[in-house]
């Protein structure tokens, strides 16, 4: 399916920019391909589903998530995503969007959060989480990241995330920084954002969650990190674990001020 989509993009690009082919670089070609796709981003389907799920009475307690506090007050969705991860007094934890949704699903709807966290990606309640993540992140589209760092717990998470980011280990002796520690790197044709600073609006941290064309799935930050760890041949620290939230805090604070385009579209 990926090959088919790419072939289509190349044909389309060849028609649209006949003279410019020689001058434009590979990165420009990919940018054009993405622009062609952005108009019909299937992430919208997840947003619509997520909105329904947010308002729908579900779970053993049969209540909606409209009482869920994502940091802006109960039920407020707009602007919540760009201020996560943050500290929540009720759970006494710094939480990212996905772990916070899990807490709400457990506390309010009566779901078993540990069970959902242990469910493989793309199955059962994880599918519903993807949709909720798309809905909540879309409500902050176009807003700038401004993660709170006022509390000691939040700064501690940032520090922990920094250490995890630079921690080299595993059979390849890789760290996150091996690929994302400087600008201008790429894997095959994929440009790698430099996550140690703000890589720009809608790049890196500000581009996730995203719809992945190659698999036809919507990936949240947890699944993105899972795949980074897989490529490093590390064991994944676990869905909604403190290690993944620490990493998200580090990346989020580093890209402070960048504009979120989530949910975006990726090849």
């Amino acid at each position: 399916m990926r090959r088919r989509a790419l072939a289509f993009a190349l044909v389309a690009a060849a028609f649209a920019w006949p003279g410019a082919q020689a001058q434009t670089g590979t990165a420009d070609g990919i940018a054009q391909y993405r622009a062609l796709l952005a108009d019909g981003n299937p992430a919208e389907l997840w947003e619509a589903k997520g909105e329904l799920l947010w308002k729908q009475k579900r779970g053993p307690k049969n209540v909606s998530l409209e009482g869920c506090d994502l940091g802006q007050g109960a039920g407020v969705v707009k602007g919540a995503f760009v201020e996560l991860p943050r500290y929540f007094a009720d759970t006494k934890r710094v939480q990212d969007l996905e772990s916070r949704l899990l807490s709400c699903m457990e506390a309010q709807q009566g779901f078993n959060a540990a069970e959902i966290a242990a469910t493989p990606f793309g199955r059962g309640e994880q599918l519903n989480l993807e949709a909720l993540v798309a809905y909540v992140s879309a409500a902050s589209r176009g807003m700038k990241f401004r993660l709170p760092q006022a509390r000691a717990e939040e700064r501690q998470m940032f520090e922990a995330g920094k250490r995890i980011f630079y921690f080299r280990a595993g059979p390849y002796d890789f760290s996150c920084a091996s690929c994302h520690g400087e600008a201008g790197k790429r894997i095959r044709l994929q440009e790698l954002p430099d996550l140690t600073r703000n890589p720009g609006d809608g790049v890196g941290y500000a581009a996730w969650p995203a719809y992945r064309l190659s698999s036809g799935e919507l990936w949240g930050m947890q699944r993105r990190l899972n795949d980074c760890y897989r490529q490093q041949r590390f064991p994944f620290p676990g869905y909604a674990s403190d290690a993944t939230i620490a990493l998200a805090t580090f990346m989020g604070v580093k890209s402070q001020g960048s504009v979120s385009i989530a949910p975006s579209i990726k090849r």
């Binding site: 399916m1 088919r4 108009d39 019909g40 299937p42 389907l45 619509a48 036809g216």
Partner: protein, 103 residues
Amino acid sequence: MSDPMRIRAQVQGSGAVVRVLMSHEMETGLRKDAAGKTIPAWHITEIVAALNGQTVMTAQWGTAIAKNPFTQFTLKSAKAGDKISISWVDNRGDKRTDEAVVA
């Protein structure tokens, strides 16, 4: 049960541009699952677009269309307030129709 489509219809010049995003697996019937068994084909076979109840376009689709397909077309002489409806039928006989108003 199928998820709703997203339909946007905007006036452009003397007509309207209609953009439709559909939620469908679009299985080709060529893939195999983890156990090595062929995943049966499951895809949209026909879409019908209607303007104020009158059919203006039909298309026959097959396995070469991507998952969660997106389609766009231009309608001459569509005005703001006109009703666009899009229907699809898949090879299992599932149907879905959604409507939008030209804006």
